[in-house]
C-alpha cells in the first residue's frame, strides 16, 4: 500500500501531510503515557520488529505470499500512540533509505497506515473488548485478530477515498472500491489470523508485555532473610 511520489496530486499530498503531522504530534505527547521515559528505545525496537515482521512472508496459496502490515498488532502490543510513532518511523526509513514509498507521499502513507490502519484496528479492538466484557486474557488474541482483519479493508477504503479526491486519472469509483476492498479483505484474513496467533503466543509467555491486556499486579510485602538458606 506504499504510495509513491506522483500518485496523488499536490494538494491532496499536502493535505494528508498536515493530517499526518497533527496525528504524529499528538502521538508524541501521548506516547509518554504508554511507555514513560522508555519511549525512545522501546518504540525504536518495536519499529524494528514491525519492519522485520513485514519481512516474514506467509504463504497465501497458489504460489503467492503475503506479509504483515502490523498496525493493529503494534497497537495491541504497545498501545495505539506508540504504534503510530513506530509506523511513522518505519515508513520514514522506508522512504528515505529504501526508496519505498514516496517522499512527498510520506504524509499520505503515514495517514493511511500509521493513523487509519492503527486507529481503525485499535477502535475495533477496544469496542469489541467492551462488547465481550471479557476480563480474562483468553479473548485478547481473538479480538486482536478480528481488529487486524477489519483494519486492512478500512485502510484500503481510505486509500480509495484519497484517490477519488486527488487521483490523476478518473477511474470508475465503484469498481475501484470493490476491487481494493475486496482484495484487501482477503489480505486482511491473513493479517487477522497471523495477528491472532502472534498475540496469542506472546500472551502465553509474557502477558505483561501486551498493552491491550494489562492486568492488575499485586504488590507484596518484602521479606528479610538473615541466612543464605531460606
Amino acid at each position: 500500500m506504499h504510495v509513491p511520489d506522483g500518485f496523488l496530486d499536490a494538494p491532496t499530498s499536502m493535505a494528508t501531510a498536515v493530517v499526518a503531522a497533527a496525528g504524529v504530534g499528538l502521538a508524541l505527547s501521548r506516547a509518554r503515557r504508554e511507555l514513560d521515559d522508555r519511549t525512545a528505545p522501546l518504540a525504536g525496537l518495536v519499529a524494528v520488529f514491525v519492519f522485520a515482521a513485514q519481512l516474514l512472508n506467509f504463504p497465501v496459496g497458489a504460489g503467492t505470499s503475503g506479509h504483515l502490515l502490523g498496525g493493529t498488532l503494534a497497537a495491541v502490543l504497545v498501545g495505539p500512540w506508540t504504534a503510530t510513532l513506530c509506523l511513522t518511523v518505519v515508513l520514514t526509513v522506508q522512504a528515505l533509505l529504501f526508496a519505498d514509498g514516496g517522499i512527498t507521499a510520506l504524509g499520505t502513507n503515514i495517514t493511511l497506515m500509521g493513523l487509519v490502519g492503527v486507529w481503525a484496528g485499535w477502535a475495533v479492538f477496544t469496542s469489541l473488548r467492551r462488547l465481550v466484557r471479557s476480563r480474562g486474557l483468553a479473548a485478547v488474541p481473538a479480538l486482536a485478530g478480528v481488529a487486524a482483519f477489519a483494519s486492512v479493508p478500512v485502510a484500503a477504503l481510505a486509500f480509495t477515498l484519497l484517490y477519488a479526491v486527488g487521483g490523476r486519472a478518473p477511474i470508475p469509483l465503484g469498481e475501484l472500491v470493490a476491487a481494493m476492498v475486496g482484495w484487501h479483505t482477503l489480505i486482511g484474513l491473513g493479517e487477522g489470523f497471523i495477528t491472532f496467533l502472534a498475540v496469542g503466543s506472546i500472551i502465553a509467555t509474557r502477558p505483561d508485555l501486551v498493552h491491550g491486556a494489562r492486568s492488575l499486579v499485586h504488590a507484596r510485602a518484602l521479606e528479610i532473610r538473615t541466612d543464605a538458606r531460606a
Binding site: 499486579v217 507484596r220 518484602l222 521479606e223 528479610i224
Partner: protein, 243 residues
C-alpha cells in the same frame, strides 16, 4: 577506616510482578579493591548491580557511593561515579559509531568540544581501540565490542567499574587480553561472574551472592578452596583447573 566507595546495607527488593530477588544484602567495597561477585544464575546478581546506580530503587535498606546516598536527586552524579558495563555489548552500544558511543556518557554530563574529545581519546586508548573510533559497532568482533563497551563507561571516569560477566562469550585469547586490560586499569572494580578462574586471576576478594543474600565474603583463594561452600551455592571450579 575510610568511606567505602560502595556501601550496600540491608538491601531488599521485589520486582513489580511480586518476585523477590534480594533479601537484605550487605556489601562494602573500598577504593582500589577488585572484588568478584560470584553466584549461580538467578542468585540476584544483576538485580543487585541495577541498584548500584539507582536504576532499581531499594525496597528496603540503602546504597551509598563514596558517601553519597543513591536517591533520585543524586542520580546523575551517582551514575557518573558508578560505571556499569552490561553483559551484552549490543545493549550498550546503541550509537552509529564507536566515537559517538564513547561520547554519549560524558556528553550527558555536559562535556563538549575539546574536553569531550580528550575523554574519548583517553578511554579508547585505555582499551586499545583508538584506531576504531569511526567504525560502526556492528562491524567489530564481539571481543572488540566488549572493549568499546568498557571504554564507553571509562569515559565517564567512574569511581567504581562494575562489570557484568565480562568473560562470557569470549574466545580464549580475547579472554586473556581482557583480563590483562582489567588489571591495567587504575580503578576500583566489582566484577560479576561465574568464571571462577577469571575471578581468582583478577580479584583478591570474592563475595558469594546466593538466594538474594551474601553467603560468603573473603579472599578469593580461600573461598575457591572451600569445596563445600562452593557446592552449596551451585559453584565449582572447572574440570582440570588447578590454579
Amino acid at each position: 577506616m575510610t568511606t567505602p566507595v560502595l556501601d550496600v546495607r540491608g538491601l531488599a527488593f521485589a520486582y513489580p510482578d511480586g518476585h523477590q530477588a534480594l533479601f537484605g544484602v550487605d556489601l562494602h567495597v573500598h577504593r582500589g579493591e577488585r572484588v568478584a561477585l560470584l553466584g549461580p544464575n538467578g542468585a540476584g546478581k544483576t538485580t543487585l548491580v541495577l541498584h548500584l546506580n539507582g536504576i532499581l530503587e531499594a525496597g528496603a535498606g540503602s546504597v551509598s557511593v563514596s558517601g553519597m546516598p543513591v536517591v533520585r536527586e543524586n542520580h546523575l552524579e551517582v551514575r557518573r561515579r558508578v560505571g556499569i558495563v552490561f553483559q551484552d555489548p549490543d545493549d550498550q552500544l546503541f550509537m552509529p559509531t564507536v566515537r559517538d558511543d564513547v561520547a554519549f556518557g560524558p556528553a550527558n554530563l555536559g562535556l563538549r568540544g575539546e574536553a569531550l574529545e580528550a575523554r574519548i581519546a583517553k578511554a579508547l586508548e585505555a582499551v586499545a581501540m583508538g584506531e576504531f573510533a569511526d567504525r560502526a559497532p556492528h562491524h567489530l568482533s564481539f571481543g572488540q565490542r566488549r572493549r568499546v563497551a568498557i571504554a564507553s563507561v571509562l569515559a565517564m571516569e567512574p569511581e567504581i567499574l562494575v562489570l557484568d560477566e565480562p568473560s562470557s562469550n569470549l574466545d580464549p585469547t580475547s579472554r586473556r587480553e581482557l583480563g590483562e586490560l582489567i588489571q591495567s586499569l587504575d580503578v576500583t572494580v566489582l566484577m560479576v561472574t561465574h568464571d571462577l578462574p577469571f575471578a581468582l586471576q583478577l580479584c583478591e576478594r570474592s563475595v558469594i551472592l546466593s538466594d538474594g543474600v551474601v553467603a560468603a565474603d573473603g579472599p578469593t583463594r580461600a573461598i575457591l578452596d572451600d569445596v563445600g561452600l562452593l557446592r552449596a551455592h551451585r559453584l565449582e571450579l572447572p574440570w582440570g583447573f588447578t590454579g
